[in-house]
Symmetry: C2
Subunit: 295 residues, 2 copies
């Protein structure tokens, strides 16, 4: 008897092969596993149409330049992403593209000539744009982990994500939904897997890359959306006190879109409910996504 479509095991792309998720593996020699020597992008898609794929690939290419990782051509990456999406046949997907330096039989840090990258594409279900607004407010707590704004690695999406994992675990234990990460001088950088925005005096502001923020695709999109609505929207240094005092606080990543933060370290943001600026931005953000993807 055929299983209904939704019970079919997900298919994962690994170096040109499409495999059932349970069989998709990489060598224990893969430098992505042994040294976090690789990069990834997390994207969202309607069918096989990926939101801002060129922006994701451009960011990936920037990371590959820093790591001197010989990335396959963009058409190869795009084809792998689209093929995996089609094979999984979901209406709405989160699609993660991972590229590692690849496997070699040596050990240590040195990259051996001829090492060929490992390419992985994995698709998981995405619930898509929210069906109603406002979204429930999230709580943030200050993390003991800080971002190294001095390192160029901080500005690329490498596999080295353990700081985010530890930050998230730590604040969850304290009852918060997500972690607010500062940089080494105590300036706000980001949340554990999101960018952070504050609304101050009707303007929208988000930490600069120089302060340790990752150049998020949803971050870039929200800045554009705010400007299209006539709002002032800028990248600037933000102190933790400005987050505590902000009228509204918003998190962004491409999976969740804009999400309101209603408490920080136990103190309510504004009146403790999702605010009108966040609602307006969120509506315009998802309209732009739907228009882009024709969804």
């Amino acid at each position: 008897m055929l299983k209904p479509m939704h019970e079919i095991a997900p298919t994962v792309y690994v170096n040109g092969r499409l495999l059932p998720e349970g069989e998709a593996s990489v060598s224990v020699l893969d430098r992505g596993l042994t040294l976090a020597d690789g990069l990834f992008e997390t994207m969202v898609a309607f069918g096989d149409r990926v939101f801002r794929l060129p922006d994701h690939l451009a960011r990936l290419r920037g990371g590959a330049a820093l790591l001197r990782l010989p990335l396959p051509p963009s058409r190869t990456l795009e084809a792998a992403v689209r093929e995996t999406l089609r094979r999984n046949g979901r209406e709405r997907s989160v699609v993660r593209l991972t590229v590692t330096r690849g496997s070699d039989h040596g050990r240590g840090l040195d990259v051996r000539p001829g090492t060929r990258p490992t390419l992985i594409v994995r698709v998981t279900p995405w619930q898509g744009p929210p069906s109603s607004l406002p979204l429930p407010g999230r709580s943030l707590a200050l993390s003991p982990i800080c971002r190294n704004e001095h390192s160029p690695i901080t500005r690329v999406k490498s596999l080295a994500y353990v700081e985010g994992v530890v930050a998230r675990l730590e604040v969850r234990r304290r009852g918060a939904d997500d972690a607010l990460l500062l940089n080494t001088t105590g300036t706000v950088a980001c949340a554990s897997s999101s960018n952070v925005f504050v609304v101050i005096d009707d303007a929208l502001a988000t930490p600069r890359q120089e302060d340790g923020a990752l150049p998020g695709i949803a971050r870039k999109t929200l800045l554009e959306v705010a400007r299209s609505l006539g709002m002032a929207a800028r990248e600037q240094s933000i102190q933790p006190e400005e987050v505590y005092r902000a009228r509204e606080v918003v998190l962004t990543n491409v999976v969740s879109g804009p999400v309101p933060v209603t408490s920080v370290d136990g103190h309510p943001v504004g009146d403790g409910a999702p605010g009108p600026v966040t609602a307006r931005l969120t509506r315009a953000y998802w309209e732009l996504v739907a228009k882009t993807l024709g969804g």
Copy 2:
């Protein structure tokens, strides 16, 4: 026809199974691969006797506490290491123990209850103690990558090693053997996969953990060796100028032991040849290793 022993494929331990290296793999869902969510130890062994295994396991356990990673009992880890060494049957080995958070079918940072760690042990050939001294001098160059001395993650041996990879690639391109890494305030932290020592006024000094140094097992051993020889040996903050002006500079990790540095950023260290203090320390270091391992 049986292959001679040295041509038999290496055997890798993965979660209780011993597999030929070419078949040893982990799921693409493993958080060690996707998020660098794991830890490792690199050790050396004569036969199945590992140098300072309890020190390595204690450091691993410290890292696991920070990551809230439920590490298997030490006897399980020890048995996995010894069994893999015996199966590979080498006289002298480098043995790497990797523990990741394990695989889960979700995505994102949150750790799902019941996720079981992945345990990998890989053995590679080790040339063992040097057959003659002095060793050839190495060259260091200052890296543009800096260590985040403010983050507790910097003091554990997590899988997030991409900064070391990039630092090494960058200085190799400039003709140096290894990278000297400073911390965010410009104080010396370490080399890309070694601790660094300087000889100043007949005393041995190495950067403090608070300055971004990893608590290396060879580092600890060399401090003990120096003291046993009557030398002053201390952990202290070291500025780059002190490395440039030092009479001798030494790198340590457990695979190479103490190694002389004879140039830094193109400038000779001392008279540009490996120095007498390094030679004396290196001899005593390897005598201690041989005595410990009965080799």
